[in-house]
Amino acid sequence: MKTITVRYFAMFREHAGVDEESLTLDVSTAGDVFEHTKSRHGSSEPSGHCKVAINDEMADWSSPIADGDTVLLFPPVAGG
């Protein structure tokens, strides 16, 4: 089990109802965190359209998660 901070942005924040939360989860990758929060908050956006960052660095869904990490979940971006 790892204790991580998950930060939500835009639509994900609206779904979660909070900016961030601390979770203790049995996860190995960023993708695992995403799947967990999806079921937790009822989101259904496919991960392929979303992005993830770990401790303020862009990451992949296969990136490993360590205890104490902050995972940032980004719904589909739309700058400009």
């Binding site: 956006e45 739309a78 700058g79």
Partner: protein
């Protein structure tokens, strides 16, 4: 250099900072809030960004553009918060010795920015509904 701001963008002031006596061509792009998107009448746009990573990723894009289309100056500013129709949401300026690099670098920067920066856009429609742009599933959710 890329900058995120909650204040109105001043393209003329930004343009003046691009001056370089070796520059023969200057290309600028601005993204404006328009009154319509995919059949919806838009009233306002709300931009949210995660600034630390938007800046890191933006600097990376500017470095890539400098590498691919060598130029003298490139600069970008993106606004966040609540914007009205006609407001400038993003500005990109490139000054170069010749026009080809100015056009290509400017285009590269805006195209990459739109796909890579952690920025989100919520449209507020005239019918009172709202929706996050580019979210397939959340659109249904938001339009409820």
């Amino acid at each position: 250099m890329i900058r995120m701001t909650t204040n109105p963008i001043d393209p003329d002031a930004l343009r003046r900072e691009m001056f370089d006596p070796a520059a023969g061509g200057y290309c600028a792009f601005e993204g404006w809030v328009r009154n319509e998107n995919e059949g919806h009448t838009v009233r306002q746009l709300e931009y949210e960004a995660y600034d630390p990573l938007a800046i890191t990723e933006g600097e990376l894009i500017l470095a890539e553009a400098a590498d691919r289309f060598p130029h003298l100056q490139a600069h970008c500013v993106h606004r966040t918060g609540l914007l009205e129709i006609g407001d400038c949401a993003v500005w990109v300026g490139v000054a170069s010795a010749h026009r080809d690099e100015a056009f290509r670098a400017c285009r590269y920067i805006i195209d990459q920015l739109k796909h890579r920066l952690p920025i989100w856009k919520k449209e507020h429609y005239s019918d009172g509904n709202s929706g996050w742009v580019n979210c397939e599933r959340c659109a249904e959710h938001a339009h409820g």
